[in-house]
């Protein structure tokens, strides 16, 4: 067989391998537990608490990431300033940190013996053992996912669109809000989905920084971990819900992306 006929086969084989490897554990989650058992395990108040905490904390973290990250990404994308490349690297740093390292870092910065510990205590701000601490940890690990995407999205907007907006008299704020964001919306939504997914699955940093207590700081991944040794079907059920939730988030992002595309083309 010549190389030119082997190559397409190799491509198909690689994709088949990747697909089966990625989907098999997910299918196994649903295959191992019957639907009735799944539903009854979800009814457990501990699971409901964990899901509620997960949704609240990731939602809040995402709101913070979007509110601060979007303008920050705009600045990184449209301005050149001394230290810009350093800033970009710094912003991406949490991406490569192992979660436990992130947790330890947060403690060293914001924990009771940390650099800002006394200041936080004076201001009566409690993070460790509090839901707020979970939000801080999630924001830390998930922001790079959004910031990178947003920066790339803004950088790839057709400059003519931005120029046209300025020519028509819009200030930068207006251009940012009325032209840049709507144009970049599909990519921004993709970045937000990535960040949300990352936050939803976070485990190590929140455990080390905020602890794990049902109804306060125990997120769904922490609940799955606790369950896994004594109640494997319960752990599977919660895992299945997380998978379904993540799938729904991805789907919603695609919808926003297509809506955004339609609007942009309109």
């Amino acid at each position: 067989m010549s190389a030119s006929r082997l190559f397409p086969l190799a491509l198909v084989a690689a994709l088949a391998l990747a697909l089966s490897f990625l989907t098999f554990p997910i299918v196994a989650i649903f295959a191992d537990v019957g639907p009735g058992e799944l539903v009854s395990s979800i009814d457990d108040p501990g699971s409901l608490d964990a899901l509620r905490i997960s949704l609240e904390t990731t939602g809040l973290a995402l709101a913070i990431i979007l509110a601060i990250g979007t303008p920050a990404a705009w600045m990184l994308a449209t301005r050149s300033f001394p230290g810009r490349s350093v800033a970009i690297t710094l912003v991406e740093l949490p991406l490569v940190l192992p979660p436990a390292v992130a947790g330890v870092g947060l403690l060293a910065a914001l924990g009771p013996k940390g650099i800002l510990g006394p200041a936080l205590a004076d201001g009566n701000v409690e993070l460790v053992f509090q839901t707020a601490g979970v939000v801080v940890a999630l924001t830390f690990v998930a922001s790079p996912f959004y910031l990178r995407q947003a920066q790339a999205a803004f950088a790839s907007i057709d400059p003519q669109l931005l120029d046209a907006s300025r020519t028509l008299g819009a200030g930068e704020a207006r251009t940012f809000a009325r032209v840049a964001i709507p144009t970049a919306l599909p990519a921004l939504a993709a970045g937000a989905a990535l960040a949300w997914g990352r936050a939803l699955g976070e485990f190590g940093a929140t455990l080390v920084f905020a602890g794990s207590l049902r109804g306060v700081t125990q997120t769904a991944p922490l609940a799955i971990f606790e369950r896994f040794s004594t109640d494997f079907p319960g752990a599977l059920a919660l895992a299945a819900v997380l998978v379904a939730l993540s799938g729904a988030i991805l789907l919603a992002t695609k919808l926003v992306a297509t809506l955004g595309l339609d609007r942009a083309q309109a």
Binding site: K113, F129, S212, E226, S229
Partner: protein, 262 residues
């Protein structure tokens, strides 16, 4: 020209295959008997055994010992799911007895005891006695209910009067998946007190102080070790166990603050 580029391509493909082959055989070789050629023993052990076991493992003459430390319940669940270490050492004889009754472990052997203490950050004066744990505003850390340190803690609390027990439980701010998590929250100054093993305070190297509990509340913390059936290096595993009972292992355990088995 065409035959020459085909020749080059074949050479390159051959080089890649050789590379993959070398990498694969290296990986296989490493999986087998380690870099020094000594056979390898894998031990799943309770987190509280870390210091003592690592010291024993370094001195173990006939094999390279690799440890997997974690909550004993989590390790047992892994074994049920098919993970096969050579030995399993749990901080709760019930866990190893369960695996034995399921045919997943040979008869477990008790090899050490421990006791519960209240740990506080060194030098802290917020909590000085058991009664302080029920005070308003005290922040406690305990183990999760499924992990041995957590179930021993709950058994201890069950022996207290109801009101005191409920006040103490209300002060719990985190339920950690293993005892190292409890120790961590104490040494970082986030919690005022927690329930740990006496050996954890010794292992903390001065960062924790222990408050002894009355005898009836110390708990009967018994460790047991079992060999998994059908492993490759059975004799070495048995040597490891006998070292825990009367050799360098026992010395390492006693030095770390464990008590001998009954």
């Amino acid at each position: 020209m065409p035959s020459r580029s085909q020749h080059e391509r074949a050479l390159r493909a051959g080089a890649w295959l050789a590379l993959v082959g070398v990498a694969a055989s290296l990986a296989a070789g490493c999986g087998g008997s380690g870099s020094s050629g000594k056979p390898r023993l894998t031990v799943s052990a309770a987190a509280s055994l870390k210091g003592a076991f690592e010291r024993y493992g370094r001195d173990f003459p006939d094999a390279q010992v690799r440890f997997s430390f974690g909550g004993s319940d989590e390790l047992a669940a892994q074994i049920r799911q098919g993970v096969k270490p050579d030995l399993y050492a749990a901080a709760n004889v019930k866990l190893s007895a369960q695996l034995f009754s399921e045919g997943l472990l040979e008869k477990p052997v008790p090899f050490a005891r421990n006791r519960l203490v209240i740990a506080v950050p060194a030098g802290s004066s917020r909590v000085r006695a058991l009664s302080d744990l029920a005070r308003n505003g005290v922040k406690l850390v305990v183990g999760a209910p499924s992990v041995p340190i957590g179930s021993y803690t709950r058994a201890l609390l069950e022996r207290l009067p109801r009101v005191q027990r409920e006040r103490i439980l209300a002060n719990v701010r985190s339920q950690e998946p293993d005892v190292t998590g409890v120790v961590g929250k104490l040494t970082e100054g986030a919690a005022d007190a927690g329930f740990v093993y006496a050996t954890d305070v010794i292992a903390s190297g001065g960062r924790l102080d222990a408050i002894e509990l009355p005898k009836r509340l110390r708990g009967r913390v018994a460790y047991a070790v079992g060999i998994l059936p059908g492993i490759e290096h059975e004799q070495l595993a048995r040597a490891f166990v006998s070292g825990l009972l009367s050799g360098r292992g026992r010395a390492a355990l006693l030095e770390a603050g464990f008590e001998p088995p009954r």
